[in-house]
């Protein structure tokens, strides 16, 4: 007789109604777990299941899911991760934000594979989950505090066994790119902190005392030792030795560093942001997420000697993207975003758009200029407080550009409302496609197509069929890594990933899963996200890049021009649709839906 739940799972989801303070569990069928695994995949299924169609993301009825995975709680390196999944107030589409922390372990060990919250508290409160017991604790005194202060206060009050995910002031005030923080890390993209804030939920505190067994404990232990050893090899050297900040000079050298709101791809001030040379960016401590052997976190000295986590995306978005080369100011801006609970990429992207608008006289903010570090900090403060121009910018670049008009939409660098990460699409044309078509919007974690561009296997400036294949392949691999969940920084450690991932999953769950099944699972998860967006009104027009990228060329050091025409992007998108089994409209073909067993998402959910 088959065992249920399978190893690594509890086979149930905790559903909390914040309006009543009550919780109930619902079973998760093995077929669902095997089809969507966990993390971003299972979160997508949960949104199909529990999110009312067409709902405003900030409506109390909108669900917010904290989704764990079968590997959480095992000794596998980088497995202490979880996904926060919901409908994004920034994009109006599905978003899933991943993070690593002890919250993942404690949350899962409450005895649930996911926690879905809906409703809203009557007053600012903390949701407390102690195993299966749910309670709402008023916390007006914490409203207005940073997430870090909230976490520290709650653990002091409740005890060290408790782990917390909290929002900062930006989430409380509905900034549409507010984050959810825990252990100083953020579930960052898509503004789910604002969803939590709309529910007057300042924090979720969890204490887990359960245990979850693996099907093959000895096998899991052996795999953990092997993976840990490999995680110390050359594939992760960059992350261990310098952290991702070292990307900045590299990207500058290959004309891939977004500068001054994507008007250039090299930054004349890049050397002032050289992690290897600039004292403000020198590491004062190194840290790692829970259960991680890589240790990519390089902490630098921030304002008031506070240790501040810095990584490439903070550095690019608050530095070159805003034309700022003052390293201390960039660190201070990043620290301020952490304190307020703001996604640094969307913050930098929206401020950079505003700087360009101000320089063109399209908005009344003459103080806001590219390269002005004080202006950057002032803008971030105003966003966090929703004061002055900050109220407009708190809506993100798409909504702000829509309000300002006058052509500013053309240089609002977003896809589906999500601001672009630090990868220039004209000089990384597989990535251009990945950014355009991904369900979450312009994103480098769900679509790592830059890997294909930087592989040396094709001309990164001349997008074509190989670029499409690269975008599909990296998107599929991301779907599995985000559902197992394993850190992307391990990806080069896996020489032949699907068989290796299948072995890990088999040892934990006991399923006879193989590489072919996982590849189909990847395709299913990617399309399940697309189908959620379709339900919410997505059209093909959303799979596109802003006009700036299609009308302005960039010149490389070699003299070559990097040009991405609308025709070329359109051709790649059409090819991507064919490769994914979609109609020319971007809608999954009935045969694809059947082949990937996606019909259950539209017909069989017991709502």
């Amino acid at each position: 007789m088959r065992r249920f739940p399978p190893g690594g799972y509890f086979g149930k989801v905790l559903i909390v109604d914040l309006s009543t303070g009550s919780g109930r569990t619902a079973p998760l069928q093995e077929s669902v777990l095997r089809s969507y695994i966990g993390g971003a995949g299972l979160g997508t299924w949960l949104m199909h299941r529990y999110c009312p169609a067409g709902i405003d993301p900030l409506d109390p009825r909108a669900p917010l899911a904290f989704v764990f995975s079968p590997l959480v709680g095992t000794p596998l390196t980088t497995s202490a991760k979880f996904a926060v999944v919901g409908k994004s107030p920034l994009t109006g589409r599905l978003t899933d934000a991943l993070a690593s922390s002890h919250f993942a372990i404690a949350g899962k060990l409450t005895g649930h594979d996911a926690i879905v919250v809906h409703g809203a508290c009557e007053q600012p409160s903390v949701l407390v989950i102690d195993q299966g017991d749910v309670s709402i604790v008023p916390a007006a005194d914490l409203w207005g505090s940073s997430a870090e202060h909230t976490e520290a206060t709650l653990r002091e009050r409740m005890g060290p066994a408790w782990r917390c995910a909290a929002i900062g002031p930006a989430g409380e005030r509905g900034v549409r790119y507010a984050t959810i923080s825990h252990d100083g890390r953020h579930a960052g993209r898509g503004g789910l902190g604002a969803v939590m804030g709309s529910k007057l939920c300042k924090a979720i505190a969890v204490r887990g005392r359960g245990r979850v067994a693996s099907a093959d404990p000895a096998g899991v232990l052996a795999a953990s030792k092997d993976l840990r050893e490999r995680s110390f090899g050359p594939a992760t050297a960059k992350y261990r030795e310098l952290g991702t900040m070292s990307n900045l000079l590299t990207f500058n050298a290959i004309s891939t560093l977004p500068t001054r709101n994507f008007s250039a791809a090299t930054f004349e001030g890049a050397s002032a942001l050289d992690v290897g040379e600039v004292s403000a960016l020198k590491q004062v401590a190194r840290s790692s997420c829970a259960s991680c052997s890589i240790g990519c976190e390089h902490l630098v000295k921030g304002p008031g000697a506070k240790k501040t986590r810095m990584e490439y995306e903070n550095l690019f978005a608050l530095g070159p993207l805003c034309g700022v080369s003052d390293a201390e100011a960039v660190v201070a801006a990043s620290s301020l975003c952490d304190e307020l609970g703001l996604d640094t990429i969307s913050t930098g992207g929206t401020v950079a758009w505003a700087m360009e608008c101000a320089e063109l006289g399209l908005i009344d903010a003459p103080w806001l200029r590219f390269g002005d570090a004080d202006a950057l900090l002032r803008a971030i403060e105003q966003i966090g407080a929703r004061e002055g121009i900050g109220d407009l910018l708190a809506k993100g670049s798409r909504a702000a550009a829509s309000a300002v008009g006058n052509g500013s939409e053309a240089f609002a660098a977003h896809v589906k409302g999500l601001e672009l990460p630090g990868y220039e699409p004209r000089t990384l044309q597989s990535m251009a496609l990945g950014l355009a078509v991904n369900a979450r919007g312009a994103d480098h974690n769900r679509s790592g197509a830059y890997e294909a561009d930087l592989s040396g296997d094709h001309d990164r400036l001349n997008g074509g069929e190989s670029h499409v294949a690269g975008a599909i392949d990296t998107e599929n691999r991301a779907a599995i890594m985000d559902s197992l969940i394993l850190c992307k920084f391990l990806r080069k450690v896996f020489a032949d990933p699907y068989p290796e991932w299948a072995t890990l999953l088999e040892r934990v769950t006991g399923w006879d899963v193989d590489a072919d099944e996982l590849e189909r699972t990847a395709e299913r998860i990617v399309l399940a996200k697309r189908m959620f967006n379709l339900r919410e009104g997505w059209t093909r027009a959303e799979d596109w890049l802003p006009d700036r990228f299609l009308s302005e060329s960039l010149e490389l050091e070699s003299g070559r021009k990097a040009t991405l025409t609308a025709d070329r992007l359109d051709a790649m998108i059409s090819s991507y649709y064919r490769g994914r089994g979609l109609e020319p409209t971007g809608v999954p073909r009935p045969s694809t839906v059947e082949e990937l067993e996606l019909q259950a998402l539209t017909t069989d959910l017991d709502k």
Binding site: S246, A253, D457, F489, R491, R560
Partner: protein
Amino acid sequence: MGSPKAALDWHGSTLLRRVTGIVARVVTGPVVVVSAPGQTLPELASRAEVVTDAREGRGPLQGLAAGLEAIGDRAQRAYVSSTDVPLLHPRFVEYVLRRLGDDFDVVLPEIGGYRQPLSAAYRVDLLGTVEELIAADMIRPAFLFERCRVLHVDGEAMLEDRTLAAVDPRLESVSNLNEPADYERARALPGPEVQVRRFGPLARSDTPRLQTVRAWSLGEAAAAVGLALDEHIVAALNGDQIIRDSQVPLVAGDAIAFIAADAGG
């Protein structure tokens, strides 16, 4: 020469690999190698296409016809090169192609008093004319030049282009190797000077980030700074293409960035 020139060693690569690699650095269209029937060619860059000249022994016009036919409608202009010019510089190819405007059918360099039909640019739509000449047994290039609009460019005029003059002041791009001694002399030359910079974890505190080394290929440049291209290390050539192929040819003035292959962040 005693053996086919195409396969002659060139510092761990071959003459053909080097010349096709240099042309490929300039053109965005196809790179076509015309081979003799039954000829075994050395390994080529992935972009190179091979066509066989079915009528061997009919001279350069027959090879030109085979190449132009293979290009078809994929390009309007073609640079034509022999395989034995290891000192060919991309700026030379670029210059010759650039001069081929709408008013001419051929750009024909004349260097050292000699016409250089195998270092020249041709309009692809000359194919019909070339085939007519071959059919009439008029197989010398001079017959073609009598039948079309030729821009003759002498070396002095070429060197007025500062970019070209800076990297190939003696126009050695057209120096071919006719005798074994020519080959040995050329092979004994020091490699071109290139600038190498290491990024991220490849940069070391005990060595300068920016170094000047002599290297004929990317592999030689990597070795000169203690690196090897593999699944973890790639190179960007002049800030442009990302390359993992160690045989990619280098020329004077190149700037190479060695970077970690994993650019995640």
